[in-house]
Amino acid sequence: MKSFFRMSYPYLLWMAIFIVAPMVMILLYAFTRSGNSMLTFQFTLEHFANFFTDPTFMRVLWTSLRIAFLTTVFCILIGYPAALFIANLPERRQTMMVLLLTLPMWINMLLKTYAWRGILMNFDLESEIKVFIGMVYDFLPYMIIQIHTSIAKMDRELLTAAQDLGANRWKSFTKVTLPLSVPGIISGITLVFLPAVSSFVIPKLLGGGDYVLIGNLIEIYFLTAGDWNFGSAISLIMAVIIIVSMWATKKLDRSAQED
């Protein structure tokens, strides 16, 4: 089985060049002083100090995490039953459903958000609710597809066996289907939570410009202010916080698996 590990060598190399190297360059900016020239290295921690001493930034970060968390929860709540029902369909219709779920993702996100703006204009909703509808809308297909993938073609025999042994449907769901789908949920969480933290187009268009999120902040500092140093520092802080929270999720996953 060891020989299979060698199959990952090409991608490890790819990662080193196209993911790690660019990130290292970005990191250099986070720890150096002003200007987007890479030639003058002046080590500093002032960007981090600026971030943590300004309550505005902390609030923005908190809002982003909260919105991303709630979006993820809603995606699971709406998406899990959908994935389960799809998995119970005949196989050909399953493929059809997955394709039907993917098709809207090929329409430009900005355009779909404009459309939501037009639709939601007719309803008197809190701007936060509008943002949630837009966010859940955008990320729901990813969650459904991930969960569906993990429970499709699952060992049917396990389910039949469980039912033969007298387990009712609820029991066979909680004891067989749910544990088997945990990796899919985790993947779904990764695909929803991570991009949701840094998303900003939807909050901006549906919530109005006073809905500043961390992704928005990073974009402002990189482009409008041209301050790559501070922008890099913010994205590093965000990355660390997300990695820690994902690590906590994985811990939960592991303890769920051990059950």
Partner: protein, 268 residues
Amino acid sequence: MDKKRKSRFLSNGYLILVLVFIYLPILYVVFFSFNEGKSLTHFTGFSLRWYQNMFEDRTMLECIYYTVLVAVIATVVSTVVGTIAAIGLSKARPLVRTAALEINNLPVMNPDIVTAIGLMLLFISAKVQLSLVTLILAHITFCIPYVILTVMPKLRQLDDNVAEAALDLGATPWQALTKVILPQIYPAILSGALIAFSMSFDDFVISFFTAGVGINNISMYVYSMKRYNPSVNALSTLIVVVVTLILIMVNLIPHIRDKKLNKGDIVR
């Protein structure tokens, strides 16, 4: 029996609701592509002018070409590389695997602008001129993680023993891979490819900073509009129609083939 029918009715109803939710803005865009006026909120009359505008606009047509070209290449490459890498990583030591997957998550987690500037810096320091190739490389880079994230959970469900048994029974690693592992993770590979394709199709920021001179994709066109051009509604409708036609064909072909076979049976 009655209970079963009831639950099927409920589950189908739920799926239809989800589909309505997902297609609502799409239908909205399709509807407004026939609007006479420029507004996206007020329908003032039926007209096909935005379709005419779209077909007369060379920049827009080129956008479609580049978007599809890049998405197809990026999807194929990232699906192949991602699947192979996922299989390899699933057999790696836990520490190596965790580290690799953590790095793999970076492009998913980073705001697009960070990935974009990072890749641009990479190309600058490697003295590579931005071009169609750099655009495709960038797309492959952010697509692979999605494939791995989709394939990995399915691999974790696999029973290691089956592949090992195949090896013990004298199968070559290649045979174990193609006859045992791939058939079992096939649906995950397909889902991964679909997600990769969607990500590539809809990307703006990374494309903007890695595409060469004169290369625009649909998202770049939409985001750069100083004023809303309803032709992009027409463009989206066109995409919906083409994809729907493909879906219908893909679904009809097996049906037709089945029918022909059946007829053959009867004749025989």
